[in-house]
Amino acid sequence: MLRGGNSYSVDLPGTLSPSDTPTWMLCFEPLAAAFTLHTASWIWFWINFAALALILWLLVGEAGFRGRAAIVVGAVGLMYSPLASNLWFGQSEIFLCLLLVLMLMALRRHRDDLAGLALAAAALLRAYPIGLVANLFMVHRSKAPAWTAGGVILGGLLTIWLDGWRVITTYIELIGLSRGAGVIGLNSTMRVAPGLMKHPANLDLAALVKWLYDRTAGHSVPVAVSIAAVLAEIRRWPRAFTRLPESIPTIPTGADSDSGP
């Protein structure tokens, strides 16, 4: 893409069309351009492993584990089975997890700006984490979504500048946004084989519920519906978390104990 090519237009035999975001494809560009496939895959493996080590270091420290307990918890985390699958398939979820951990840590420290920017980075790279904006509203961090929006706009402009507008329009067409289908519509948002969404190995719960409801698991749940579903909970959650219960037992005092026999 840096040389003017369009990865979304490349049709390789035996492979699915890429459905990753242009920013994600752009981040892979140096690996693809500078190294052979074998070297690039190993570099990506060690990048993932470094991200995993950083995740565990941050999480163990944040949870307050020290000494032997920290080693045990770190080892338990390291042996978590999905991590091996992620490394085996060269996937990106470890990197996404790192961004989420950074977001959670920033939220704990009341740094809404950093939390919003971490979520913006996750959204630029993987798109669907943008739905977590609803969670930010749910925990009453209304400034963080503004930082997310700013980060997405800034990162989007940077991607357009480096990728070129033609790549962006291809991606927009790919996900159905130009047809009004991707975000607010009911059509598939990705050019993947519809069978993948109702594949038994697809563990997306929304697809399962959708299949149980109307047998259309081949069409993904639009992002807007997911966000609205989480936002709908906002009306109930603040009251459950912050409001005092209706009947609060009181400790009897001398003034109240005048009701004798």
Binding site: P82, Q91, C97, G254, G260
Partner: protein, 148 residues
């Protein structure tokens, strides 16, 4: 957990994002305020992932070999084993739900206890306001002790 809802596709390696949950549950267990169901559910999910691993895990070849060597008349075992990832997801969801609801109850209990303590303390403003009954005229001494 939200990510497993909002992603159109969610393969097994998407469970990597549950790592903060696992460490958080470990921290809760260390504090001693973890509901038993949370501990059992997350332990079961972890063990399923470890003992019946998927592709990429070092023990996966053993698992594949065991399935391949199953007698032909027991295909149902193969089908059951392929659902282990879904079972792991369900158990993780149960652990997360019980963990979150227990934290909510604990927080409400803390607020409840603080409020009742404040109400019971006549020196605090809240205690004075909540214990003041203008329609009741009480003697300055404890009433209970004078009636015995």
């Amino acid at each position: 957990m939200t990510l497993s809802l909002i992603s159109p596709l969610s393969w097994y390696f998407y469970f990597c994002c549950f790592l903060p949950l696992i460490v958080g549950i470990a921290a809760g267990w260390r504090r001693g305020d973890l509901p038993p169901i949370t501990l059992y559910a997350i332990t079961a999910a972890y063990l399923i992932g470890t003992l019946l691993p998927s592709y990429g895990h070092p023990l996966s070849p053993l698992m594949s070999a065991a399935i391949a060597n199953l007698p032909a008349q027991h295909p149902h075992i193969d089908h059951a084993l392929t659902e282990r990832e879904f079972l792991q997801l369900m158990l993780t969801w149960i652990a997360a739900y019980s963990f979150a609801t227990a934290a909510r109850k604990r927080r409400r209990h803390t607020i409840d206890r603080q409020s009742s303590t404040l109400r019971g303390d006549p020196r605090s403003a809240i205690g004075w306001l909540t214990s003041w009954r203008p329609w009741r005229i009480s003697p300055p001494w404890p009433c209970g002790s004078t009636r015995h």
